[in-house]
Symmetry: C2
Subunit: 703 residues, 2 copies
């Protein structure tokens, strides 16, 4: 999914009293998504009297799991059990479903390990180590290079670094860019490709309250699922590193930490960059999301089979829409922008006060502003062809494009390829490309027809590319013809074309291969423009701004999130807003009350299993809770742990004010939302009768 990492969730109301709190370039309260090799040691020590050693960090790091390209998760048993959010694996649940067995609606519990269902295209990553490679990356850049050439040199060096690995195909390396270009760190992971579904509740239990309660608190959602990692021999992974559940849970005001893979924050952006998001990028992204939400909702309403096929896509779109609405609303507050203007002015004054600094870094802001102005000119086309809003985005089209592109890229030296086709990336790519997950014609036709119509809407019906794509037919008719005639639904055909290279692809008469071949030159052209005209300047300018910040203020913020493992921290803490106090914890009894309030109608309907279990459940058991530790899209599935490294909760959301964290941290009313381990335990015991799992999760095991 183009926006898969944006998993958090809306805002009818978003009045953020943030502006008053802003002071430039200081870490505020419990701010920060910290890399594990750059932990907030002083804050831990001074504010929380917490001084974990190297071993503590090692164990925590190796207990964390990244799922696929974006989800967070953690190991929770010595037998490879992995805890994450239901919504992180909902797409896998859809792929494992059939018209007869709808895992989203009915949930799933493996009676024993032999019944666990292997996910068709999900891999899992455990971080082994981090190495700072900034100097190596920057050594490849000489002073005489243009920004585009410098960017190219950096990319090549990064490809080289990622390709250096022991002869172990399960090791995966990735260079993480920090501060948008000031630092480069090499992350080395162990990758697991045999990931099986162990337990998932019913969708209505996992996302109780649906879109209405999404990004809200109080909440009563059991947004959890259990997977298991298997080793290369097909045996459950044995590990010493995992988070033991602490069934005492956590108390109000207690210190906790959150670990996960937040995808992207925008806190360090220049004012003009924020304006670009406000006026160009977010409106374009939201426009596509609103459009798609309406289309998908009207399809889902047509009947249960349509709902089964399209619901998962709809849930993803709704979630992204709520998140981006919140990000945009924050930037639409003139006071937020005003405070950023003030911060930036202070920094630039500081730089201007020192002639050497001014000479070194003084033009970084203007260079970025100019690059943004250039990018505005081709953003729409770039976004439609390559970006988050890519128009042609059906599963078959993506497969065809990978085959077409890989056939061209494999001819090049590794370091010169598009990054997703480098040797280091091929195994993850093949997992997705050769996924046996069923491809439904109806879904493909709908996705492709919608995308083609979007191309007409945004580029105009007489645009040469649009005319070629449609080939004289209206979008739906053209899409039907492409999908019905496409042989890529067969995995063996994909493998043949993948292995056959450029000659096989050029000879293929598959209509989807032909379409991808048709579109590719223009898509590549705009990707190149983006990299040369914008990204290269961006990296360079932000590296300078980060240096300036350190020079002027003597310290740096923690880096913006960029998809790698981060630690955040804070306390469990309720919210008082407008005289109304919302306590930190909800209780299981509240679920039944809220459902009754709405007469049990969707999205407030109870799953039958919960109706049956009602009398067996202790209504006072804590259900969900809120905390001040930061989270953002990609943090879904993050474990909440205590000082002892024990699991006390599972982050699955943030509240509406916390969407403002994208650009500025505050702990006044912004909160992350987590599931309490005590509710998970009660549900597994009394609702799902998963006795073996409960035993596995709660056994105190000798090291």
């Amino acid at each position: 999914m183009p926006i898969a990492a944006t998993r958090f969730r809306f805002a009818v109301t978003l009045i953020l009293p943030l502006a008053a709190l802003l002071t430039p370039f200081e870490v505020r309260g419990d701010e920060g998504l910290w890399p594990l090799n750059q932990p907030p040691t002083e804050i831990f020590r001074d504010k929380y009297q917490f001084t974990p050693g190297e071993a503590w960090y090692q164990k925590v790091q190796r207990s964390c799991v990244r799922l696929g390209r974006g989800g967070s998760a953690s190991l929770v048993s010595r037998n490879g059990l992995v805890l994450t959010n239901h919504h992180v694996v909902s797409d896998q649940l859809r792929k494992l479903s059939t018209p007869e067995r709808d895992l989203l609606t009915d949930g799933f519990l493996a009676a024993d390990p032999s019944q666990e269902l292997r996910c068709q295209d999900l891999d899992a990553y455990v971080l082994l180590g981090i190495r700072d490679v900034t100097a190596e990356v920057n050594a490849s850049v000489t002073a005489d290079l243009t920004p585009a050439a410098a960017n190219e040199a950096r990319r090549k060096k990064i490809a080289e670094l990622e390709a250096q690995r022991p002869d172990d195909s399960s090791i995966h390396s990735n260079v993480v860019t920090l501060y948008r270009g000031a630092a480069y760190h090499l992350y080395r992971y162990r990758r697991y490709t045999d990931v099986r579904l162990v337990w998932a509740p019913e969708l209505r239990a996992a996302s109780f309250g649906g879109d209405v309660d999404n990004f809200e608190y109080p909440r009563y959602a059991l947004d959890a699922a259990l997977l298991r990692l298997y080793d290369e021999n097909g045996a459950p992974l044995h590990t010493r590193d995992f988070f033991q559940l602490n069934l005492e849970g956590v108390g109000e005001n207690e210190f906790v930490m959150v670990l996960g893979n937040p995808s992207r924050t925008q806190r360090g952006l220049t004012v003009d960059h924020l304006r670009f998001l406000r006026d160009v990028e977010y409106p374009a992204v939201l426009g596509s999301l609103w459009r798609r939400e309406v289309q998908l909702r009207t399809i889902c309403e047509r009947g249960p089979e349509q709902e089964r096929l399209f619901r998962s896509e709809l849930l993803g779109v709704q979630n992204s829409r709520k998140a981006v609405s919140g990000y945009l609303a924050t930037l639409q507050d003139p006071r937020i922008i005003a405070s950023k203007v003030e911060d930036e002015a202070k920094l630039r004054q500081g730089v201007a006060g020192n002639p050497q600094w001014q000479a070194q870094w003084g033009d970084a802001w203007d260079r970025l502003t100019n690059a943004l102005a250039a990018y505005r000119g081709f953003f729409a086309r770039q976004n439609l062809l390559n970006g988050r809003g890519a128009a042609l985005d059906s599963r078959l089209f993506r497969i065809a494009r990978h085959l077409v592109r890989y056939a061209a890229e494999r001819e090049k030296p590794d370091a010169e390829r598009l990054e997703e086709y480098r040797e280091a990336e091929l195994e993850p790519l093949k997992l997705r490309l050769f996924s046996p997950a069923p491809i439904e014609d109806d879904v493909e036709i709908e996705d492709l027809a919608s995308g083609m119509a979007l191309l007409i809407e945004r580029l105009g019906g007489d645009d040469p590319l649009v005319v070629q794509v449609l080939d004289g037919r209206p979008p739906r008719e053209r899409a039907a013809e492409l999908v019905r005639g496409c042989g890529l639904k067969d995995v063996e055909t994909r493998k043949r074309l993948f292995d056959g290279g450029a000659a096989a692809v050029a000879a293929s008469q598959d209509p989807m291969i032909r379409l991808a071949t048709l579109v590719d030159p223009e898509a590549r052209k705009f990707r190149k423009r983006y990299e040369d005209e914008f990204e290269s300047v961006e990296r360079d300018a932000y590296a300078q701004i980060a240096a300036a910040q350190f020079a002027v203020f003597g310290r740096q913020r923690p880096p913006d999130a960029s998809g790698s493992l981060r630690l955040s921290f804070g306390t469990v803490c309720g919210v008082t807003e407008g005289g109304r106090t919302v306590p930190a914890f909800t209780q299981i009894g509240g679920l039944f009350e809220r459902s009754a309030q709405f007469g049990g109608t969707p999205p407030f309907d109870l799953a039958p299993s919960w109706q049956r279990a009602q009398s067996a459940l202790d209504r006072t058991v804590p259900f969900d809770f809120v905390l001040t530790a930061e989270a953002i899209g990609g943090n879904s599935g993050s474990p909440v742990i205590n000082r002892a490294g024990e699991l006390v909760g599972l982050v699955f959301d943030i509240n509406v004010p916390a969407l403002g964290w994208n650009v500025v941290y505050t702990d006044q009313v912004a909160r992350s939302v987590a599931l309490d381990v005590r509710a998970l335990h009660a549900a597994l015991t009394h609702v799902y009768h998963a006795d073996a799992l409960v035993a596995e999760l709660t056994r105190e095991l000798p090291e």
Copy 2:
């Protein structure tokens, strides 16, 4: 509502096999929305052996009713009973509802005339006569005038013509533009301001199947309501002109006619004008509709009170979204455009073949193309400030803007005013402006906040107008401040400002008056640009193209719809598509079957009254039916009559292929959808027990 006339209703699938049928400038099959002074006499005679006399047309014309600014309806009893669609009056039902009495959910039946509820701001119009004033309008234009000046001269002349009326305040005159400028006809109406609600079914009965079944067939919707016109003495209107119900109904293949006020079709547009709709106008309109639909839907889901407040706005938005989606899908078919290109080339060749024609009309197409190119440059801003997509569109803002504008316009001679403030328009304006319908703060804040956010999204947060509108606050906070501080919720305050004129408005500290004053100069500037740079050329060019068409082909199409009374005709006729035959009629039994198919869940839930009546109803009674007679937005509520001028049905929808009628007529699969009078009769009798109404509707009365 900015799009109120677009009342028809979507298309997941829209493959129109139209292109094959096109031949240039001939009326095809049962094509045409004919003005009553230009009926299709030859077709009636030759194809249907139907030769109605002047008296027949007179009676039909005086039995038709226009509701407010856009809805269709008809008189159906000698005591002023008026039949229309439920969805045409749903906004009135909302205004008459309270938290305790929800007329949309529960429906309404007046036990006797004394219980009928006066609509708060609805007027009704009966057409008395039509006069061709083309020569008079064009006489005001001399050859030396620029297009803008010519347009101005025409507008002044039109204002003069509309102001000429007997000393009878119930007479309302309106000059209708035909062929977008080739002809001007003066329509004279009697206007009724005391319109009362007599009966309305429950929303779930009226729009059974909701958005899913909207624009689909087969259907089972009782989309009807009854009103009554009262005279100036508060007595029910006595009239000899009305449509008598024929309870024999109509048979398959029978000839029928439809009368109503279709708002706008685009069949006569040049190819470049259609491209403008496809690439600029429709995508912009749809973008706003998708956005608003998602926003309103998420609000409605928050609880029953929110649903009561916002449901009616949501239904309107969904309906427009489905309609515009269909219009756009038609234009996104390259074959439709290709056929239009061919038609246009033939006409232009014909013109080019005659040097005099070429000199007179040859440059009309290019002039229009140039005007469209200019309009593209300011469409976004014009549309946001004045158009269908107007951003600031809350009820209080509209009131404030009327007060601000009227204060300025009243100072000018009548013929120089903005047309909605001419003397002839003041009474209808005052009806709406001084409506006592409650104004809810929550709705106002939501509408205004959404509109302000839209301004930022489309114009950017640093646009000077946007900065002034927000005044330093985020949209929702600013909207709350404006609405809470606004005194215009009080009708007397509005009257004071209306009567007080420019001085009173200038002195007012009401925040909404100040906002409207702030925005008005820019809004007027763009309206003027639109009129001078586009509309003036448009009128002139289409007048020339119409003349060329007549010269080259010897005949004209019927004029595109433009909001005035039109007659269309055709036969009752099922559809065969892709081997599947859908019969012309559904039956009452089908309603219960379709509801059961969906387990009775919304929007397929039955109203309690229908559940109770199930056994009393004859399941074989025809429910809805389809016909080949044209209809389009604005036709909702149109009577379907037979040769004898008897009522046999009530148009409430068209099917998806018929949305293509906007640009080209076909009767292959495109159909209008109507309620059968026999279902109306059965429902009033057995479901609503409205015995007095049934008697009134079915009594054979002496002339």
